[in-house]
Symmetry: C2
Subunit: 161 residues, 2 copies
């Protein structure tokens, strides 16, 4: 077991922990937004942070489920039913559970295999999870600028628990 881990750059379990650590920070960032500004504030014609969170939600749990099952629905970033901060937080927590549940059944070998996520984005399994994480980091970083512009201090970048 020790040898097996030492031969890995990162293990499947570590990748989940790393991902959920980022998701915890993204949730904390979401919590920092005042209700109104979450849905209305933006800079330079960009999307509101609520819309960026909806994109994160559209990618995260469906990616874990897709790697688990090999089945993909088209990407759904619209999520018209998520109308309040509380709606977004509840959807976030639900996604956390879905990811943890799916992860156990994600096959070890999928990370090096080709996947066509959401029926259109070709990558490896690892590439997909990296995309999910990094796309979230990218948009969360933008959320930090929104918060600073609103005079609100964002969470510490290294806080993941």
């Amino acid at each position: 077991m020790e040898t097996q881990i030492m031969n890995q750059i990162i293990t499947k379990d570590q990748l989940l922990t790393h991902w959920q650590g980022h998701r915890t920070l993204s949730r904390r960032t979401l919590e920092k937004f005042p209700e109104k500004e979450l849905f209305e504030f933006s800079i330079g014609g960009m999307r509101s942070y609520a819309d960026l969170v909806k994109e994160m939600l559209a990618i995260a749990a469906p990616s874990a489920k897709g790697l688990e099952t090999g089945k993909w629905e088209p990407l759904d970033e619209d999520k018209k039913d998520l109308k309040t901060k509380e709606d977004l937080l509840q959807a976030w927590d639900h996604a956390t559970e879905v990811i943890n549940g799916a992860w156990k059944n994600v096959p070890d070998e999928i990370f090096q295999k080709k996947v066509v996520a959401f029926g259109q984005y070709e990558s490896t399994g690892y590439g997909l999870i990296a995309y999910a994480i990094e796309n979230e980091v990218h948009h969360r970083g933008q959320g930090y600028v929104y918060l600073r512009a609103l005079g609100i201090e964002p969470p510490f970048f290294w806080e993941r628990e």
Copy 2:
């Protein structure tokens, strides 16, 4: 070899390619800034994009060298000698070479081992490279907001070559 790769979430070579792909996008983002705004523009009291790029430079090549040699200097984000966009681009390209050169000698097992980066940040070797990548993605995302606020279209997030 094939079996070895299939047992990996990501290989050492793939991690380098992934990292340098991000660095290529960050370089392209840097190129989009007009000279003056690169050093002077910011939102909400944040640092200029030049300062964020200096932080990326302070982390990237020294992290690869540190994993290679086990030796660490304190983090140097100041970089007072980098005064123009051309200076930053040249430093960027130099770092790219340093990382590629160091990577060959980075021991396979370091990614699961404890490192104390820059003499003070404790993580695994993988955790350190993930931090380097994700901290860059985070700040580059902020650079995208600066560009949008300046009326400049940022590069596509998925362009990595």
